[in-house]
Amino acid sequence: MGATADSVDTSMRSKTKPDPGLSRDRVPVLRLEEVSKTYEGSTEPAVRHINIEVGEGEFFSILGPSGSGKTTTLRVIGGFERPTSGRVYLGGADVTFTPSNKRDVNTVFQNYALFPHMTARENVSYPLRMRRVDRHLIGARVEEMFAKVEMTGYEDRKPNQLSGGQRQRIALARALVVQPSVLLLDEPLGALDLKLRETMLVVLRALQRDIGITFVYVTHDQGEALGMSDRIAVMNHRGLLEQIASPDDLYWRPASDFVARFIGKTNLLDCIVDSEGGLVAGSLKIAAREATDGPTSVQLSLRPEEISVGPDTSRLANHFRARVEEILFLGHEKELVTTVEDQTLIVRVPGREKIRREQIIEIGWDLDAAVPVKQSVDQTVEGAE
């Protein structure tokens, strides 16, 4: 047993790096300013005070559980919904009240929304025809798009003669053919099976790099978001933004307990500051690099892979004996549910490790491993209102 994972993890994360926000060399091509939306007949806003800046050529994801208002946010950007308050800027111009057919954004809809009576070619030509592009130019441009999404040869099929993945590609081609400044994607992979989804992930990412168009990608799947995005905005159940950060920072430096829980798995330790300024979670004394600048309690997020297992954990700042309660075999690794005193900790070990239930193991983690997280803005707002 060893702490093999630890060294890898340390190199991966960048805890000292500040939240990157929008890099200075990137022009905000899209900006949402204090956008709120309450649907007619509803008292609860679907989204509240959304502030987002997306840079040119960025792959930006909006991640959240269902009902978090991420699709609403996308629809506000696309011009399908008018925000109740706030402003939407595209390339610096206020487009809050510009109808969708006059916005320089295109959408890949959740169900693709291909025109069923048109062939794939007619579907892809449609935006060009609406823009009154010269007929001779349309043919070449459409052909090029079919090549880009690897659908050459399927031009004369109707949507119902195409598979889900193929429809997806046609929808992409239709949305990209006029080279919008921003492409909106509303859970585009939701209807595809796992294998196809993985293929499309690669296609999407490659396509985005290739054409350099800004993507705003809505998903509830953290794997998709973490894998593809330059930056991710996490929204919570009440339509509030929890954090905007790079996938790296989101994972290793979650701003709130909500983010920590939503992105990957984590152990949340509710600690109180004892009389000597140390941290105590239940009956566990924890060593962490937490500036105890005032608060009497703090929540720490400790990723399972941050916890090392084995005798040599005794050199680490935190070192405990844990009892294995439950083992979940995941193939490449095993997930252990362990109890340490009165705390439950999830620990991960390589899949080959021989561990039995009820075994007592030694675990430990570094001073930096557990990061403090704030309470979700959700609760904060609830308190304030």
């Binding site: 399908f80 057919n101 809809f109 929304a113 025109f115 449609y126 025809r129």
Partner: protein
Amino acid sequence: MTQTTTRETLSVSGKHGPPLRVGIRALILSPTLLWILALVVAPNLYLLVFSFWSNEIGTVVQEFTFENYVRAFTSEVFLTLLVRTFLIATFAAVMATLIAYPGAYLVVRKLGRWKLAAALLVLVPLWVSYLMRVFAWRIILGERGILNGLLTSLGILGEASDSFLYSVETVALTLTYIVVPYVFLASYSSLERIPESLYEASADCGGNSFRTFVHIIWPLSRPGVAIGFAIGFVIAFGDYVTAQMVGGLEGTMLGTIILQQFGTANNWPYGAAIGVSIMLASFLFLAMVSLFSRTEAQYE
């Protein structure tokens, strides 16, 4: 429908195999088949056969002849009435479509959750007896009718006019009114089926609402409208009650002649020949309509 039924049957009694499946399928279909055979196929075949028999002073002689058709297509009365009936029916169906389709579009697109209520309101007249609906127009257009009353009291007309009733125009107007709900129903259901996302996708592609209508909504709803148009046309084409009640002599339609032949004139074979001619004419017309209104599309 039949397929799922078959599969269910299979799972319940799989060991019996195909014979039972066929038997049950036939059993399930039998009411429909019976209906079609007894009430559609048989009478029409009978009508067809009758139209080739001859008539001798009110008695049907079972002797093959083209005489009835020759008589019909050389008869000026028949030809005049055929053209008139065709024109009236076409006019009524076209007018009803022009009224009902935009109406259905507005209801589906603009009324939101009230659309079902609005659609029901349009269909309310269908609950009233057909005769009452036609009669209503006599009350409106008659010499002592509402229209005359209004116009004379406003001083637009010096005295009540009898020219509103008993004319081709009256028949066309009344038939338009009669068939509007049917065209509306067909238009409504075809428009209702078009998912909201297609409107949005079209706008997203840069199409304004007019071009969205022309390129997306019209092609997708056209087959439904054609069905509504066809129903309206057939109803108007075969109608004789309206012609009799508000048409007068000038507004006589083909149906009236058929009624006469089967009634007072007592010449069934000739009546049958006219009936068959009407059916063929409307069938040809509707075949053309459906040919030009076809859109091949399947929603995802």
